[in-house]
Symmetry: C2
DNA sequence: GAACGATACGGAGACTGTCTCCGTTTAGCA
DNA sequence: TGCTAAACGGAGACAGTCTCCGTATCGTTC
């Protein structure tokens, strides 16, 4: 890629992250282009669709999910609390940008989605958590990582669109957690 | 209301139901107006926003939820199966129109929403189901009807946007159901 | 360091959807 | 049969998406 093209690409991603954080994922792409100081053509050449641009933006916080998952896996406490803690982390991270939760959850399991690599990172993280708990015999094994992401992502989507606070989300996550841990 | 106005209003609702079923809730309102044989002005006079139109459309299937709930309440089987059966009914009905699940779930608990009356019917139905089960001591009592609607609505939203079939939705609902029934 | 071809730029403008304004029409009453 | 309030409808202002193509720039080659 030519140096000027790379510069423009980077700049667009940076500005888009800012604009999307301010206005949500529905923000005007022409505005993003204008703020980035490039023409609409340049933006659309680099990012043929909104989804592709979103994908580029998501890269950074997908990395944060991996990090956060490491931290949660090291948690010493009850299995249910570990699961719940990961749920809360997950919801917090995917609702960082308005509309993000719906986007990522909707794409979950879709092999054709432009953001499938991000979904894979997330479901991979989920797999590590439920894998650990399954080893300990703490959670049911008939539900896979993608399904867990759909469940928690569903809650996250509702939390995002209804603007629920952590206190309102927690009981919902508790139900999901209780549904996953094996009956004692 | 003048007779011609009433006629037009009814016709718009009827056509909108059709168009939304075909194309989802994002369909062009001008198209609805055109198909209904009225001007855009007429449509917007009757329905100042898309939400208000959606509200009018939803009336009929909210009635169906009430009906379906009656049927489920008469179900003779295990408590968990009754709950699960109601979940499936709920998901089926609110995903009848593409985008409907997200709309209704997002508005759940919002006193200002134009479709709040519909949400109240749905959470009322949920209250009847979990009320019955709570009486029998079959479900936890720290989760209210709105929360149940949010949980199941979250699953429905994911099912809708990811176009999941009943077989893919069922395990998710099972987790939620298991999280709600009291531990044995 | 000049010339040149490939690559990238940018913004005008076509297209689509939302919503309003206002001149025209019509229902329904007296 | 007239009158008036109510309702109609569609042109058009506005906003967002996305494309096309003339222009500018990069970076390579000699």
């Amino acid at each position: 890629m030519r140096a000027d093209a790379q510069r423009n690409r980077d700049r667009i991603v940076e500005v888009a992250r800012e604009v999307f954080r301010e206005q949500g994922y529905d923000a005007s792409l022409d505005l993003v282009a204008k703020r980035a100081g490039v023409g609409a053509g340049t933006l659309y050449r680099h990012f043929p669709s909104r989804e592709v641009l979103v994908d580029a933006i998501m890269q950074s916080w997908v990395d944060r999910v991996t990090e956060a998952t490491d931290k949660v896996l090291a948690f010493e406490g009850s299995d249910r609390d570990l699961l719940l803690r990961w749920f809360e982390t997950y919801v917090e991270l995917i609702t960082l940008h308005k509309g993000g939760a719906a986007k990522i959850t909707c794409a979950m399991g879709d092999e054709e989605s432009p953001i499938r690599t991000k979904c894979q990172v997330l479901s991979g993280a989920a797999a590590r958590v439920i894998g650990l708990l399954a080893e300990r015999g703490a959670v049911r094994t008939d539900v896979d990582a993608v399904q867990v992401c759909r469940l928690v992502g569903g809650v996250a989507t509702v939390a995002d669109t209804s603007e629920l606070g952590p206190d309102q989300v927690r009981p919902l996550l508790e139900v999901v957690a209780d549904g996953l841990v094996v009956r004692g």
